[in-house]
């Protein structure tokens, strides 16, 4: 009797997000120089670096708010394949509304401060074309509940809420349409330590429940250590080191990373 076996094969997952060779300068300042990054489905990519290292610019480019001079950006999704930097304004807006969620450090950037919190979340669905009041209301409540927002303050405008609550509203807005990619720009900076821990808890639980691919930018190594699977260290617009989170924290290779990790301890 002969046993036939399948030829051995490697299971390949393609990265969900791939940024290749992007450069961006503001006048004489080179903000990002030839940076490449990728993130696999369900993975959390952390980007650390000091102020002015280009990490936020990179994130804004991932959210298509800024278009670099060179480089390409692809998302491995059913109906998007081309270089996203070449999309027109209309396609870009639809893609950002339905596939990408973002949480900014400053809630004023991401929220309409005088509208209700549930309205802020509902706006996401309205942009995507939902026109039923009952559906909007239910979806907004569900998203706010998932980000652990107290439901008795559903219709309070964000301007009346605390910083931690505002971040939760932003988070609810970002996840309302179940995006493929969640971008977090310093989501806990400016919050006090206990609130910071609560928001990080929420993020961690969301990541486990929904398996969203996340890119998190922070200068706080603690945040990155808690959330990220893989870490990219940036300095002066360039990537100095990439690796698994444990690897970076236990055995930093680049002098700058060593300095950064030791400064934390």
């Amino acid at each position: 009797m002969t046993l036939t076996l399948d030829a051995p094969r490697i299971v390949e997952t393609r990265p969900l997000l791939e940024v290749h060779g992007v450069s961006k300068s503001y006048g004489p300042v080179q903000a990002v120089r030839d940076v490449s990054a990728h993130a696999y489905p369900g993975e959390v990519l952390g980007i650390v670096g000091e102020s002015g290292s280009g990490k936020s610019t990179l994130l804004r480019m991932m959210n298509l708010e800024e278009i670099p001079e060179t480089g390409s950006y692809t998302l491995d999704l059913a109906d998007v394949s081309d270089n996203l930097f070449e999309l027109d304004r209309f396609a870009r807006r639809m893609l950002c509304a339905t596939k990408i969620g973002i949480v900014y450090q400053n809630p004023h950037l991401g929220l309409l401060m005088k509208h209700s919190s549930s309205g802020n979340v509902a706006e996401r669905l309205l942009v995507a074309g939902e026109r039923s009041f009952a559906t909007l209301r239910a979806a907004a409540t569900e998203a706010l509940d998932a980000s652990e927002f107290p439901l008795d303050r559903l219709d309070a405008p964000p301007i009346e809420l605390s910083g931690g609550m505002q971040q939760r509203v932003q988070l609810a807005k970002a996840i309302a349409l179940e995006p493929a990619l969640l971008l977090l720009d310093e989501p806990t900076t400016g919050l006090d330590v206990s609130v910071q821990a609560l928001v990080l808890d929420t993020l961690k639980r969301l990541q486990q429940d929904r398996q969203i691919t996340m890119v998190i930018v922070s200068h706080d190594l603690g945040v990155i250590r808690t959330l990220a699977d893989r870490v990219m260290v940036m300095r002066r617009g360039e990537v100095v080191e990439t690796g698994l989170a444990d690897q970076i924290f236990q055995d930093p290779q680049h002098p700058y990373t060593q300095q950064l990790v030791h400064a934390k301890l």
Binding site: F90, R93, S116, E123, A128, R131, S132
Partner: protein, 303 residues
């Protein structure tokens, strides 16, 4: 041939007050706005002997469209006899030599502020509405450049956010006048500050409506037989003011848009807002043979 044979004799002013180039500008922009229903066209708004904000946009359109045979009717808040309406009517008659009327059925051109007459307008009639603020996106997007991009992209999601906020705060849509409406399935326009009661009259109407904002220098139009759909949630229906059961204390007519008149004892009485409709109702009661046209609303319901 001398120069004097080629030129017109001297006149104190052009026919219809505006000079030839101003009228050409208006005509071109009116044609453009009719071609793209509901889309705001910028135009070179001229000075007229009236303050901006008092209907200069509507007046310029009227002066461009009139000829000596056009019967002109001017309404202000439904009334033909208010100061503003009377002044504009007299001005048009003086500079263009047009006959004037108060009867909706007789009029060829109706310039109006805040109301559409209750009687159904015909194909051969033109309604000119004065618009203070032509941009429906202004409450949600104060930056006009971005608002124009949003119009180009048909990015109107935030308009519903406004309605959402009103329902959440007050339990119902609070937008009383200038109810944003989608024209021909493409552009959202503000139908000038007409009440909600009047917006359904524009839907598939037989007449041409031209909306002009003189201060903001924007003109837009609803051509005949064009869809005008007020923005609503799929599960929250559009509601007009609850005036269907009210009776006018002066004419006794029921089921039309009313002006509320507060009384000394704290109650209110009501008077029909379309004054000419009230006058006609009284005449019909006093003597037979007064012809009243078909109305959009019958027994307080839109037909």
């Amino acid at each position: 041939m001398s120069l004097s044979t080629l030129t017109k004799p001297w006149e104190a002013m052009s026919y219809g007050f505006l000079d030839g180039s101003a009228k050409r500008e208006l005509r071109r922009k009116i044609l453009k706005s009719v071609a793209v229903p509901g889309c705001q066209m910028p135009y070179a708004s001229r000075e007229v002997p009236m303050a901006r904000g008092w209907g200069t946009g509507g007046l310029q359109v009227s002066l461009t469209l009139v000829n000596p045979r056009t019967r002109v009717k001017v309404i202000d808040q439904g009334a033909d006899d208010s100061v503003n309406a009377a002044s504009i009517r007299r001005f048009i008659a003086r500079v263009a030599g047009t006959p004037t009327t108060m009867d909706t059925l007789e009029a060829d051109l109706i310039q109006s502020r805040h109301r559409i007459p209750e009687e159904i307008l015909r194909e051969d009639q033109v309604l000119v509405l004065q618009v203070p603020n032509p941009e429906p996106l202004r409450p949600v997007q104060p930056n006009m450049s971005i608002a124009r991009q949003m119009h180009a992209d048909a990015d109107y999601g935030r308009m519903w956010l406004q309605l959402y906020e009103q329902i959440v705060r007050s339990g119902r849509v609070m937008q009383g006048a200038s109810y944003p409406s989608l024209v021909h399935g493409r552009h959202v326009m503000t139908p000038s500050p007409i009440p909600r009661w009047d917006v359904p009259k524009l839907h598939m109407a037989k007449h041409l409506t031209i909306l002009s904002a003189g201060r903001e220098k924007r003109i837009f139009a609803v051509p005949p037989y064009t869809r005008v759909e007020p923005l609503v949630f799929s599960d929250v229906p559009y509601k007009v003011e609850e005036h269907g059961a009210l009776t006018c204390t002066r004419s006794g007519t029921t089921g039309f848009f009313m002006n509320e008149i507060p009384q000394d004892d704290g109650t209110s009485s009501f008077e029909v807002s379309d004054s000419e409709w009230g006058v006609k109702t009284i005449r019909a009661r006093d003597r037979d043979g007064e012809s009243r046209g078909e109305t959009w609303y019958k027994d307080g319901e839109m037909s």
